[in-house]
């Protein structure tokens, strides 16, 4: 099993607060890795470090890019993480371009390809065939993802007007349009009803098993994490307290303690079939 991303000794401090403390983690290629942990454990901070929104205080983030070799993510600005390293994320509190249509959202995600094809707008302004072709391809790609995520009927609706669960799916579709090498999903099941969350499971498994995509997943919904993850890392207070396959993590005493408190009542984590 090859490692796609390896996090080593990652530390992130904000003034006196240590949000992530000496965290090391391996993300295997072509698998789904879940990151769980109580609120405020540092999961989103990890994502922010990974995608260039925060500069880590200390530590390395090595990405073994299949075509471009090793890329050190901690040295890249956020837009370069997505553009050059193809590490693409979604957000816990959904960040779509709300007034633009669903299709436009997916086209914007292909900005760099299209901008190059438009030769800094010159070819685009003149309507040259090269640009037109690139635009057609971009629309086809968007349409393909819209179809696979069952969104094609909504393509021309303003993204911000659509229901919450659908917006979550749009955000994933938009991220997929960037052609991610590593797809980072920040609580994709938050706010979804049980049926939607089952569909999400299916989608994640499809992306990983059928398309061979590597997914890093932050999630609170244990029915999602435990059912789809191949590998789970548990964080508490910025430190990794456990790592391993779901079955092992589920019974780890540290994990149970972190979730259920100091009480010695040993139990299963909520929502998981025994």
């Amino acid at each position: 099993m090859t490692t796609l991303l390896s996090v080593r000794n990652l530390t992130m401090r904000f003034g006196g607060l240590t949000a992530i403390d000496d965290l090391s983690l391996e993300v295997p290629a072509g698998r789904i890795t879940g990151i769980i942990g109580p609120n405020g454990a540092g999961k989103t901070t990890l994502f922010n470090c990974l995608t260039g929104f925060y500069k880590p205080t200390f530590g390395t983030l090595r990405l073994a890019h299949p075509r471009r070799g090793e890329i050190r993510l901690e040295a890249l600005a956020s837009h370069r993480v997505a553009r050059d390293a193809q590490v693409v994320r979604t957000f816990q509190n959904i960040r779509l371009f709300p007034k633009m249509t669903v299709l436009e959202n997916l086209i914007v995600a292909q900005h760099n390809v299209l901008q190059r094809a438009s030769r800094f707008s010159l070819a685009g302004l003149l309507g040259l065939p090269g640009y037109r072709r690139a635009e057609r391809h971009a629309i086809e790609r968007a349409a393909m993802w819209l179809e696979r995520l069952k969104l094609e009927a909504l393509a021309d609706h303003a993204a911000g007007d659509l229901p919450y669960g659908i917006q979550r799916r749009i955000e994933i579709a938009r991220a997929l349009c960037v052609e991610p090498v590593l797809l980072c999903l920040d609580e994709p099941a938050a706010g979804l009803n049980p049926r939607e969350s089952a569909e999400l499971n299916e989608l994640l498994l499809y992306l990983c098993r059928e398309l061979g995509m590597t997914i890093l997943l932050i999630e609170h919904d244990m029915s999602v994490v435990m059912n789809v993850s191949d590998h789970i890392g548990v964080i508490n207070y910025g430190r990794k307290i456990a790592e391993g396959p779901p079955d092992k993590v589920k019974h780890d005493p540290h994990v149970i303690k972190a979730y259920l408190g100091e009480d010695d009542e040993v139990g299963e984590i909520e929502g998981v079939a025994p």
């Binding site: 553009r83 299709l103 635009e135 349409a143 960037v178």
Partner: protein
């Protein structure tokens, strides 16, 4: 964010009177120091003059105005509720309707703009006013790129207008450049200033950006006032050459070896020729601007601007270099402002810092926001309204800016999204017509 909607509650007459009475009382308190009392110069010293009659009129107007407003609002709301209940139009229908209406309006406006000088060929005032409207339309379209599309709040846009105007004034009076030679260069200089301003303030958020751009506008103006050697100081620059019609001057007599416009076409000389020529010139410049901006909007860069307005962080997460996107918006907006400035200088023949005050920036911004952010047609509508409303009240010229400020507040309160808030997507998966046909077939 979802607003809590309360059941509509109609006021009883007593409540209405109390409400209006309260407004009248506030009007009285506010009116006493400014309307009821004023200071006048009596023999070199100030003395207080009372105008209680005027104050009484003001308070009475506040009272009855409030009553009328409440009544009208209630009527409107009831009617709207009734309409919403009976209306079965879908969102797509409405979008299609809005798009058609805007398109139709655009064509009518274009037709009217082209025909206007034909019908008013002997009315200088009308053509001049229309030229002013078009300058503001062009400025509005330029600023629309920065504010409407990219969502970068620029309160110093007039600086680029000034840069364009002064660039042309200096190039033509000092180096003898013609209008057509100077136009692209002045535009490029303005774009350079746009990048110069844009670069240091990339990291600033909305309101801070607004205040820094405002400061930038003022810096440019203060420099123009004080750097007398360059700009002529407060006296400005005069005798700026007017644009010619492909080398034909608009003059009674041509200089040695050249021809006049009237002479070439065998017309009798008329001062209106130039006025009308200038009108068509700005019309062409404005239309070019429109085509340019509308096409850019449908290109990656234009969509990136809109995406930036919607969510900068998401833009970064999609791999977009927000620095380049912001700078391109600033540069292109500034360039268009520069072009407008060149035209302004050529039309006036004289420029001074007084034409480039903050009020001017505020007017242009108001045109963009009142029109409906990002809406090209909205800019036309707002520019026409804002230039014409004060013109209609020309008999009370001193009320011009008062009305203007009031209109800004009222339109914002009435329609915070602007007059034409409808946004047309830059591309569609299914064209609207086929979508509609498909549904009709299904019925």
């Amino acid at each position: 964010m979802s607003a809590i909607v309360f059941a509509h509650h109609s006021m009883t007459p007593a409540e209405r009177l109390r409400d209006a009475g309260w407004v009248a009382f506030v009007g009285l308190v506010l009116g006493i120091p400014l309307i009821g009392l004023t200071t006048v110069d009596v023999g070199g010293r100030l003395a207080v003059d009372t105008r209680f009659g005027l104050l009484a009129v003001f308070v009475a107007a506040a009272f009855s105005g409030r009553l009328a407003l409440r009544w009208a609002l209630d009527r409107l709301r009831t009617r709207k509720l009734a309409r919403d209940r009976t209306s079965t139009a879908t969102a797509a229908d409405r979008a299609r309707g809005a798009q058609r209406a805007v398109n139709l309006l655009g064509w009518i406006a274009l037709g009217a703009a082209v025909a206007l000088p034909i019908f008013y060929s002997d009315n200088r005032y009308v053509v001049d006013t229309a030229t002013t409207v078009l300058i503001y339309v062009m400025l509005g379209w330029g600023l629309n790129v920065v504010v409407g599309l990219a969502g970068l709040l620029d309160l110093g846009y007039v600086a680029f207008y000034a840069v364009g105007a002064y660039a042309y004034a200096l190039l033509s009076t000092q180096f003898g450049w013609s209008f057509w030679e100077a136009l692209p260069v002045a535009g490029a200089i303005a774009a350079g200033f746009g990048i110069l301003l844009g670069y240091p303030i990339l990291r600033l958020r909305g309101d801070y950006l607004a205040i820094v751009t405002l400061g930038f506008g003022e810096i440019i103006r203060v420099i123009l006032v004080n750097w007398t050697e360059l700009s002529g100081g407060p006296n400005g620059i005069g005798s700026i050459p007017r644009p010619s019609f492909f080398g034909l001057e608009f003059a009674r007599r041509a200089p040695e070896g050249e021809q006049t416009f009237a002479g070439f076409f065998g017309l009798e000389f008329s001062a209106m020729h130039r006025i009308i020529f200038l009108y068509y010139l700005i019309l062409v410049l404005a239309l070019l601007t429109h085509v340019f901006v509308s096409r850019l909007r449908k290109l990656p860069v234009g969509r990136a601007w809109e995406a930036l307005r919607e969510d900068e962080i998401a833009c970064k997460a999609m791999g977009m270099n927000t620095t380049h996107i912001k700078l391109s918006a600033f540069a292109i907006g500034a360039m268009l402002g520069g072009f407008a400035g060149v035209f302004f200088a050529a039309r006036q023949g004289f420029i001074s810092p007084e034409s480039f005050t903050f009020t001017e920036s505020a007017i242009i911004l108001a045109i963009v926001v009142l029109g409906g952010m990002g809406s090209q047609m909205g800019v036309v509508l707002a520019a026409t309204l804002l230039v014409l409303i004060p013109e209609f009240g020309r008999n009370f010229a001193e009320y011009r800016m008062l009305l203007f400020g009031m209109a800004m507040v009222l339109i914002m309160v009435w329609k915070p999204g602007g007059l034409l808030a409808h946004r047309e997507p830059t591309l569609r998966l299914k064209p609207l017509d086929t979508a509609a046909r498909g549904r009709e077939g299904a019925r």
